[in-house]
């Protein structure tokens, strides 16, 4: 009953992983993404890789998709009409007014709803929920006429302070329905219980914009799977970690928008919990980007407001920092004579020069291959990298810098590594965390290539290259807990009365969270509470988890205050003695999927080779052994240098590291003192 299938649709490839509980086997597959119709690509991948009987006995289908995100990026979604408080028609377009200071021509992205479809309704509620002007039904009906004439598919309703009192938004919905509107309606207070009208309006219009597209997509997948004999539960990854049912994803499509890098973070968290790996820093290096996040106490870190395609989204999301640094990142010499790498990428087409598909610009992959870090350059796909093309692409850089080609290639790797290390340093140090207390989990096609360089740069001692390193994000889908969460803004000074109010709000939020048709079972079902807190008068808050007993906060105000001050001290190096405020209350319900016990098997090769590769520790080329991961025996440790091949990734182990596979199948690299 724990068999399951995971499909993660990326920009270039669709990754598939399934776990069969009869054999304990994990099988991975990779097929090209079909951007025009990713749902068909998804189903095709399942049909190609998953045997019928495994599909029939699987209990879960877990899915990560960028369909919502792509609809947003490409601006292909519903025609949305917006009902807003009279006088506030242009909040969505005026936004924050901030700009890129080094680009005089910078403009914000156009709003999702154009001005002629943002229509005013007379009504007003105050910040504490008092209605000071009733909703005028005639305004809603007049707006509906305009929407109908324009062919609006989907209506977003965003009234000021609806989080404090949703009655007008609910009335508007009733009026629209009573008048016969059958399209989708997104009410801002359902999307987000938090204040800030521009951000909530942006999130609500995103919800309305992607709803139809995502709904049809989900229906297609569910129907096709059912037709093929699948009889389990379909789940989709959430931006805020974990997964949700397809039904909820249709209800709350905006919660999928930032889920792209979530599967990798979930996988890292599961690995940390399962094998007791402690705190981790992830280094996920793909073709165009480097994604990093922190796994602390077995969970990824969450933030509660983000930006997607230039639009703010008021939703929880895993704090994954992304920079434009990957295998395809292009190196060049700038006007002042310094070497820069990225953020432009050669992408999949033409790709790095050494792919031999017509690329001529030097990329990170070209530099790595030239330096011997990829061994003999035979990829799992059968593609053999072209050494001549790599050095030809690097030669102009070398000339401009007055370097040898080796030196130029080394420079490219050093700079891209330093950019990645910089992203990790900012992520850790800004939270008062010393990265040296963490281990690095390196995955994605090029993560294991950069591991030793990053560890040296950051002073980390140990690198873990997980099983299925190149498909690790898809593997991460398999362990995603079912998670639902809600939040509500209620600004108040933290005292005993506030605690009662917190408990009242938590009870309300939980009652929504438990209305999902799932039986609450004690062993797998947990609720989580968090409070956004700040010193009275500050704006930015820290999220603190109080102790609680099944949804009733058991910490006292004094204990909570102390907990907040301690977190503040850790983050900012000092603390204050001002009064503490609660800003928002967050509640979540988490249900773990059944445990699975996996057996890992990698093909053995028995062949050992040799290559001349550059050692960053020795600062010169030396002989590196090359071998296959499947040939490594658990428990044995040896000294580098070595290059370890596996089907979808290559691990580069510099001379100052030892390596070996542990009992769990993780490849562990350890920095050795000289």
């Amino acid at each position: 009953v724990s068999s399951r299938i995971g499909v993660d649709i990326g920009g270039t490839f669709t990754d598939l992983v399934y776990f069969d509980d009869e054999t304990g086997e994990v099988v991975v597959g990779k097929v090209p993404t079909t951007p025009a119709s990713p749902e068909q690509g998804c189903i095709a991948a399942v049909r190609e890789v998953v045997p019928d009987e495994v599909l029939r006995r699987s209990a879960y289908f877990l899915h990560g998709t960028t369909v919502g995100l792509n609809a947003l990026l490409e601006r292909r979604g519903a025609l949305v009409g917006l009902l807003c408080t009279e006088g506030f028609r242009d909040v969505l377009e005026i936004g924050k007014g901030s700009r890129d200071m080094y680009n005089l021509f910078w403009k914000p992205p156009a709003p999702l709803v154009s001005r002629d479809l943002r229509l005013p309704v007379r009504q007003r509620t105050t910040f504490d929920g008092e209605v000071v002007s009733p909703l005028r039904e005639s305004d809603v009906l007049a707006a509906l006429e305009t929407f109908r004439a324009a062919g609006v598919d989907s209506i977003a309703v965003v009234f000021l302070h609806a989080y404090a009192n949703p009655s007008h938004e609910l009335q508007a919905e009733q009026i629209l329905r009573a008048a016969g509107f059958t399209g989708a309606i997104s009410l801002s207070h359902r999307v987000s219980g938090e204040y800030r009208d521009f951000e909530r309006a942006s999130t609500t219009t995103i919800d309305a914009f992607v709803r139809t597209r995502l709904s049809g997509y989900i229906d297609h997948i569910e129907q096709s799977l059912k037709g093929d004999g699948f009889d389990g539960t379909c789940l989709m990854t959430r931006s805020g970690s974990g997964s949700m049912t397809f039904a909820e994803a249709q209800e709350r499509p905006f919660e999928t928008i930032m889920s792209g890098p979530v599967a990798g973070a979930e996988g890292a968290a599961e690995l940390a919990r399962r094998f007791g790996l402690g705190h981790l820093i992830t280094a996920d290096v793909g073709g165009t980007s480097f994604d990093t996040c922190l796994i602390i106490d077995g969970r990824p870190q969450l933030l509660h407001q983000g930006t997607v395609a230039g639009l703010p989204v008021q939703t929880s999301w895993v704090d994954v920092r992304s920079i434009g640094a990957g295998g395809g990142s292009i190196a060049r010499v700038d006007k002042g004579g310094l070497l820069t790498v990225g953020p432009q990428s050669a992408g999949a087409d033409p790709g790095p020069a050494c792919y031999g598909r017509g690329g001529t610009l030097a990329t990170v992959t070209d530099a790595a291959f030239h330096l011997g870090m990829l061994g003999d350059g035979l990829l799992a796909s059968g593609l053999r990298l072209d050494a001549t093309a790599a050095s030809a692409a690097l030669a102009p850089l070398a000339r401009e810098l007055g370097y040898t080609v080796d030196e130029a290639a080394k420079g490219v790797i050093t700079i891209v590594g330093s950019n990645m290390a910089g992203a990790i340093r900012e992520l850790t140090i800004e939270q008062g965390i010393d990265p040296r207390e963490f281990r690095l989990l390196a995955f994605g096609g090029a993560g294991p290539l950069m591991g030793t360089e990053l560890a040296r740069e950051l002073g980390l001692r140990e690198i873990i290259v997980p099983p299925h390193a190149g498909n690790f994000s898809a593997w991460g889908l398999l362990g995603a807990d079912l998670l639902r969460s809600r939040a509500r803004t209620r600004v108040m000074t933290l005292d005993a009365r506030a605690l009662d109010e917190i408990n009242r709000i938590v009870a309300e939020l939980l009652s929504v969270l438990y209305e999902d048709g799932f039986e609450a079972t004690a062993d797998t079902d947990r609720c989580e509470i968090a409070l956004d807190m700040r010193f009275d008068g500050q704006e930015h808050s820290l999220t603190i988890a109080p102790d609680h007993d099944r949804g009733r906060v058991s910490s006292t105000p004094a204990e909570l205050t102390e907990k907040f001050r301690e977190a503040y001290r850790r983050s900012f190096g000092l603390t204050l003695h001002d009064k503490v405020q609660v800003v928002s209350v967050r509640a979540a319900r988490r249900r773990a999927l059944p445990r699975r016990s996996e057996r890992l098997s990698l093909a053995t090769h028995g062949t050992v080779g040799e290559v001349s590769a550059y050692s960053f520790a020795l600062r010169e080329r030396c002989r590196f052994e090359t071998l296959y991961r499947g040939d490594l025996r658990a428990g044995e440790r040896r000294r580098g240098p070595v290059i370890v091949y596996e089907p979808t990734a290559t691990t580069y182990v510099d001379v100052d590291f030892s390596y070996g596979v542990d009992a769990n199948g993780c490849l562990i690299l350890r920095r050795e003192e000289h």
């Binding site: 006088g87 506030f88 901030s98 909530r200 006007k335 310094l338 330093s418 910089g422 140090i429 900012f572």
Partner: protein, 578 residues
């Protein structure tokens, strides 16, 4: 071509060299890595300040700057913050060190508080914290510094538009140790707190500034240790040379010559007489000189811009064009010279008032762009409405039993460019500011209720490309308050170019509950009864190119969206009606 005369002052970046590093020994790869590491230290300083600050003017308006300096007060790195502050920080560092008696008086763990307007370039409210950075072996390697706007530092009002000397503008800290060897000097903090109408947020903001400097200093030390001292300093010299080369390469593309433009202000805060000033940008080879020598004498009211901000204005304007889209360092500033006249409105001397230094600065920014547009036709956007339309209010919060101070700065219509219509954004010198949301402000200051937040039809300057729209923001006071208004550029609207026209100018009308409407520009401490409504019109940006060449479909779209009225469209865009 050199028009500077005997009484003029020419500011050139100092060429104090360090004997620590030699650029020829630095390799371009490590230099790039060092540069990123220093940038990352500055970004961390910014995050800490934003996240621990008390006042929205810091965390929303981003009215602050953070930077890292070497021992010669040359700028190593700076995070993107308030552009207007960004080029002033070396003055703060140098003046703060001088204030405590020189470098030899510094000890590890010190933090210096400094806010002399002629040294910070700002008003007394903008307080700098400067922290020396020592290596574990005791070597002084440089400084971390920030400057942030405090809500109140004891001027005649919390914000002033009518001061006549600097002593009415707030308490001055001429470079004093707020921390000595890591210990807070309680006496100094007591003076800060005792002189503010809003002691709690001011204390919180000051401690946030110290926390920010400290995290930057720790990171600075780690960076030097990571690369080793010699390599680090070699790379620093190379990094400055790189920045200089990037900017010089840009200036060399400009045709040599003198490009003039005029700046405008409504009045000096005391009278209603408009102010105009002439400035010129002179290009000669790879050097750019901005000439402020012909501006009027210092104004009687506080619309004078101290030298550091005059210099900053030029540095940042050029960095926006020439900086390779990257954060500047000392090297980027080397090719720029500024000519001023001491005692003039762009180089006031004590005790000339300078509380509103930011307005001449914004106006000079617009004028520098206009001058550059003559050197670079088609590569400079037209003018913006040129202001932040600030109306602020204060009073007593009965609930918390303390003084409150509310308000926000606002984006305005920006100029169109050859490539497209203008947007509605903050003016360039305040690029990173953010408008707080109505919901947030109503929660924070329950005495205000917003009534309008919408574009103004016909406010964008007509053109082939239309200027960015202006907008109306209206709010009602539910309780009596006092207000300060600084709504500038109500008399001279945005400039258009190549046949494009001006947008509507800014305007503030106060509607009293008895039905009177009063237009206000600058006022300080005006009592306003409950029920009054503030009606601000943020102006529109200038157009680009003749309106008659505007694409017919774009005109129709503007009509459909209500951005242009039928009457005005027929007047400016007849091509859409034939």
């Amino acid at each position: 071509m050199d028009m500077a005369t005997a009484q003029d002052f020419v500011y050139r970046p100092h060429d104090r060299k360090s004997d620590r590093g030699r650029s020829r020994d630095a390799d371009p790869v490590t230099t790039q890595v060092v540069r990123h590491s220093l940038g990352s230290a500055a970004n961390q300083m910014k995050r800490v300040l934003v996240r621990t600050a008390y006042s929205p003017i810091i965390y929303e308006a981003q009215d602050f700057a953070v930077a890292v300096y070497d021992r010669q007060a040359r700028m190593l790195a700076q995070a993107p913050t308030l552009p207007a502050f960004m080029g002033t920080m070396n003055f703060c560092v140098e003046a703060a060190i001088a204030g405590i008696g020189g470098e030899e008086k510094l000890e590890p763990g010190d933090a210096i508080l400094y806010n002399m307007p002629y040294g910070t370039g700002s008003h007394a409210q903008d307080c700098a914290v400067v922290m020396p950075v020592f290596m574990p072996d005791g070597e002084l390697v440089g400084y971390t510094a920030n400057k942030a706007h405090w809500l109140d530092v004891g001027a005649k009002n919390s914000y002033c538009t009518d001061t006549t000397d600097v002593f009415q503008e707030g308490v001055v800290f001429p470079g004093v140790k707020l921390y000595r060897r890591g210990e807070l000097v309680e006496d100094i903090m007591a003076i800060v707190v005792a002189n503010s109408r809003m002691p709690r947020p001011v204390r919180g903001d000051l401690l946030a500034q110290v926390a920010s400097c400290r995290i930057g200093a720790d990171e600075f030390v780690r960076v030097v240790e990571r690369f080793g001292s010699q390599t680090f300093w070699d790379c620093v010299e190379r990094m400055y040379e790189h920045g200089e080369a990037v900017v010089r390469a840009f200036i060399e593309q400009l045709p040599d010559g003198r490009y003039e433009a005029q700046g405008h202000l409504d009045n000096d805060g005391l009278s209603e007489n408009p102010i105009t000033f002439d400035l010129a940008v002179e290009v000669s080879g790879s050097t750019l000189r901005v000439d402020f020598s012909r501006v009027p004498d210092a104004q009687r009211g506080p619309l004078n811009c101290p030298l550091p901000s005059t210099v900053s204005c030029c540095r940042i304007a050029l960095a926006m064009f020439a900086g390779n889209s990257e954060a500047p360092n000392e090297g980027h500033f080397r090719p720029i010279e500024i000519v001023t006249r001491p005692g003039s409105m762009f180089h006031p001397v004590s005790p000339q008032p300078c509380y509103m230094y930011g307005w001449p600065l914004m106006s000079a920014f617009e004028a520098i762009f206009e001058a550059l547009s003559r050197a670079l036709p088609g590569r400079v956007p037209s003018g913006s409405a040129g202001d932040i339309c600030g109306v602020q209010y204060w009073g007593h919060d009965d609930l918390r039993d303390e003084f409150f101070y509310g308000g926000c700065s606002l984006p305005v219509g920006q100029g169109a460019s050859v490539g497209g219509d203008g947007a509605t954004l903050f003016v360039s010198p305040l690029a990173q500011s953010k408008t707080p949301s109505a919901e947030l402000m109503e929660t924070k200051w329950p005495i205000v209720r917003f009534e309008r937040w919408e574009y103004v039809t016909d406010s964008g300057g007509p053109g082939k490309q239309r200027g960015g729209l202006g907008w109306d923001i209206h709010w009602r006071f539910m309780k009596p308050v006092e207000i300060v208004s600084i709504v500038e550029r109500t008399k001279v609207p945005s400039w258009g170019q190549a046949g494009g026209l001006s947008g509507l100018s800014n305007r503030f009308v106060l509607s009293y509950p008895d039905g009177r409407d009063v237009e206000i520009r600058k006022v300080t401490g005006l009592p306003v009864p409950a029920g009054s409504v503030v009606r601000i019109r943020c102006g529109g940006g200038g157009g680009y190119g003749p309106p008659t060449e505007r694409d017919v479909a774009a005109v129709r779209r503007d009509l459909q969206l209500g951005l242009v009225s039928d009457t005005e469209a027929r007047r400016h865009y007849p091509q859409a009606f034939s």
